[in-house]
Symmetry: D2
Subunit: 325 residues, 4 copies
Amino acid sequence: MTLDRTDPEGAIREAAKRCSNWGRWGAEDVRGTMNFLTEEKRREGAALVRRGVSFSLSQRFDGDGPQKGWRRRTNPVHTMLDTGTDAAAGVQGFPHGLGGADDVIAMPLQCSTQWDGLGHIFDHGAAWNGRPAGEVVTSLGDTVTGIETVADVIAGRGVLLDVGRVHGGDGDLPDGFAVTEQHLTETAHAHGVAIGRGDIVLVRTGQLTRARRGVAAGHGWGDYAGGPAPGLSFTTAEWLHRTEIAAIATDTWGFEVRPNEFDRAFQPLHQVAIPHIGLFLGELWDLDALAADCAADGVFEFWLTAAPLPVTGAVGAPVNPIAVK
Amino acid sequence: MTLDRTDPEGAIREAAKRCSNWGRWGAEDVRGTMNFLTEEKRREGAALVRRGVSFSLSQRFDGDGPQKGWRRRTNPVHTMLDTGTDAAAGVQGFPHGLGGADDVIAMPLQCSTQWDGLGHIFDHGAAWNGRPAGEVVTSLGDTVTGIETVADVIAGRGVLLDVGRVHGGDGDLPDGFAVTEQHLTETAHAHGVAIGRGDIVLVRTGQLTRARRGVAAGHGWGDYAGGPAPGLSFTTAEWLHRTEIAAIATDTWGFEVRPNEFDRAFQPLHQVAIPHIGLFLGELWDLDALAADCAADGVFEFWLTAAPLPVTGAVGAPVNPIAVK
Amino acid sequence: MTLDRTDPEGAIREAAKRCSNWGRWGAEDVRGTMNFLTEEKRREGAALVRRGVSFSLSQRFDGDGPQKGWRRRTNPVHTMLDTGTDAAAGVQGFPHGLGGADDVIAMPLQCSTQWDGLGHIFDHGAAWNGRPAGEVVTSLGDTVTGIETVADVIAGRGVLLDVGRVHGGDGDLPDGFAVTEQHLTETAHAHGVAIGRGDIVLVRTGQLTRARRGVAAGHGWGDYAGGPAPGLSFTTAEWLHRTEIAAIATDTWGFEVRPNEFDRAFQPLHQVAIPHIGLFLGELWDLDALAADCAADGVFEFWLTAAPLPVTGAVGAPVNPIAVK
Amino acid sequence: MTLDRTDPEGAIREAAKRCSNWGRWGAEDVRGTMNFLTEEKRREGAALVRRGVSFSLSQRFDGDGPQKGWRRRTNPVHTMLDTGTDAAAGVQGFPHGLGGADDVIAMPLQCSTQWDGLGHIFDHGAAWNGRPAGEVVTSLGDTVTGIETVADVIAGRGVLLDVGRVHGGDGDLPDGFAVTEQHLTETAHAHGVAIGRGDIVLVRTGQLTRARRGVAAGHGWGDYAGGPAPGLSFTTAEWLHRTEIAAIATDTWGFEVRPNEFDRAFQPLHQVAIPHIGLFLGELWDLDALAADCAADGVFEFWLTAAPLPVTGAVGAPVNPIAVK
């Protein structure tokens, strides 16, 4: 598939038409591709636990995180309601030597490792399943497809496609690198894994590894959140649809390649994937420890639980995904 | 074991001495009883997935939740950075028909379904493993045992003890009902399950079921968050220690029975369990759907992933636990 | 003027037509009735400072405040970034004995003493001066009439109308008491003050006094925020318009009488006063100390500074108004 | 006075001893130098209103403000609870065409124009009036000298010392410029004003003017919040004490010159001024419009109201100061 760089709107329209899942699970559906994640899939996933080793795929929710204000996204602000210093100073008023600490957080729901919910992106005023965006997400939040509607479902077979390791020079892809279907299938082939219905696919580009090197070197996060990045090509829309995967996540802030592949566009693959395919996208995942283990033992599939924090009406939600091999 | 209602401080001191795990995993340890949750335990847990059915054990993080201000804990405040109404009105400035929604949350980390971290409670100025509370948890948070230190570990064998169903009249225990070791072992016997090292034990009292009936009847949450409750008896401290469980969670706000079993006391079992045993306590869990399923199929053990949101330095953390049978 | 309780929409339409200030200060105007508050008015106000005594007319911004969740309004959440206990414990890392404390707040902008901005209320999709509501206030805030546009203007002559003291039995009006033009003019007459162009009028109903008695008696705030209240009658719309006052504030949460005076309505006087008159309304002001002083010395006019916190794009803003006599 | 750059602790100790106001207003005092701001002073201040022109001395509380994370201070996060787009879309559920907008803020209390409260800074564990810091400011906030204790007092005579205009080349002082007593008195002399007991002194360095030029030129705020700056010399401690001023404010983030005048130190003048003198310091004030007017008409004194938002227990508070000439 080749792209006409000058016609993003036409390309989006065509891809949306070819990849639409509207109505596939009925007019009332709120789970989109999560419908592919069946009990059978969970049995298949659980059977992948052989060693019992577990990996958190979440970055830290940290005040020194990568956010720099893009779309008013900030890093979490974590403050204390009670502290150990207060307890030690004896000012808390509890009896018999009891002391306590408590805390509070304020943060954008997509400031760190997260799932995009189905109410996160719209195409020409249409949300998932063809609903009017203005009736789905108001100031009260997403009253139809809020992230709580998938609170119990995201546990199944996970597959890592370490495209950075397979196609990157130093283990990571450069910014602006568009990951195509060919890269994905070659990587799966190299790993000896198949991708199919109901899978949760994790695509490692290596950008986070690179960003961390920058932090360690004292350069800060740079534009890791909101800037140029490797990522999925717009041309993968049909692969995302055809494979009938349940969800896909990357180690970048925006899932797709940045800058996008049109002369003027903003996240065109989101515009197809979320409202039309009904696909759940994960962003800012930390795949490094898992990827190192997979490279070491040659096993790129595992049990994955990635249950979003069920904030009522949220259009995205933080998550601490756990892979077990 | 009988309690002298007039001497909580003596009882706490004795229990702390008998149940201490200080130094058991070395002076540097930050994981406490999570050390019991081994890879072998995860293999055992994963093998419990037979049907592939999954349950979220999380309440909704919702502005209409149960918090009423106790210890300055409020319900979450969820607001939008962008909405579908804005997208539909064409005021967002994205090209080619793209629209988006984004959101923000502010909340106490223990306002809904959560884990207490090891920095949550102190005994006479001592935190887990004997560290000075004032050096562990300052205004910067828990710089030693922050919840992020167990980000990857809490996945293993879960066991439900539905004490409410076994010992409660209508399926739930009354407020002030102290769940003793005898209740726990009788319930385990009734369910046909054994409890042992590395298990994650879920104790259902039924109080949440009762509270929800109140909400449904228009009476609101009442004192569900911060008020009287059924819960673990102080006398279970030695059972909690002896069984070598990795963690334990309940469907109440405070884990232990309220009012507590001394004439004047506040959460004395916490004071033993967290700083001395190094035990992870879960609170405000929603066990109802899982319990109904267990009652129906007679299987009270399952694969459980309960990965806390890894907020750096948090003394507690929200979690969406997922049980799979 | 008599009201047809069955036709609020008609009454609103008629009042809006009679009281409209649209276009009065040009199509670009963003200050509404603040245009009446001239430099001459400030000179007049400053001349009222005779004794030099000052009064804060603000309630405390406090976690134990009156908010109970109406329209998702909560009390402020105030947490510390650094504390004196930390400083005393020597854990802050500053040199030479320096210690510091710092803090953070999260709150609705209208949770306590506040001004309604001109973007707070709309009538049939129209904002102040006839602008489309959807173009004025989006998720980005009020991009036209944000409260920062009146950051420098609200200082002038203040007049207290202590209707509670003049018309209330015990110094306060009962809930549901509709303050009419006659009550206002009788009160002004009793106080020996005239109301005119550019004045900032403060109407004390005494409800806050009553609510505080409830708090002191251990009954909590009750429905002080969001419940029944004395307040301005819908029929005062023309007085509000004709007098050409710059602003008006009360000691209640909602300015107008609650329940409203129609069989089914919600804050109909707001719907006329803000978008059509362009009038600034103050709510939750604490007029008690000032009122006691005015009753004592018989002087009900004073210099008043009531500068809103200039939050960019805010539709309302907290304020600590200062009266000086 | 000359400074020994190698002995900040000695210099602080000596200055603290010479400038201490401990006990001056009794052991219970919570207002420090605000005790100098008397009713007489307010009469004097009000008499300065000649033209009736008013100036806001507050920067905007804005998400694009200068904060960059220093001491975990962020810019305000302003989000909407209800919007005009929602109102226009008819999704709010109010009767008769009513629509509304509401908003929420989360911010550090010292992120923009603010007063330091007396609980903001400690010297060797001592707070204002000699109280132990750990008993004054805990996680619950400042329970003794919280900013609400001066809610009603800060209105009086303001005097501008435009040191930037008098001593700066282009109207602003360079970073690292230490403003000495001589600069202050020369500036007062040039302006034809005297400084005395109970005055509120505003010192303009011009750094904000410079920072804004940077923003306008697309360079962002740079290090305006937390970086190098012109400001008061440590040697002014005695002048601050001797003049018996009520308060002093600058257009910089940190009041004193940065880097400080010792080889290793952090805000040593704060350490004398707040806990020992009991002086209120204002920071991040916007003095530019007022300064231009004063330069034009030659009048550098005015009526000033600078009432902090009375957040219970706050160690600092936002303020919108209003000067009237």
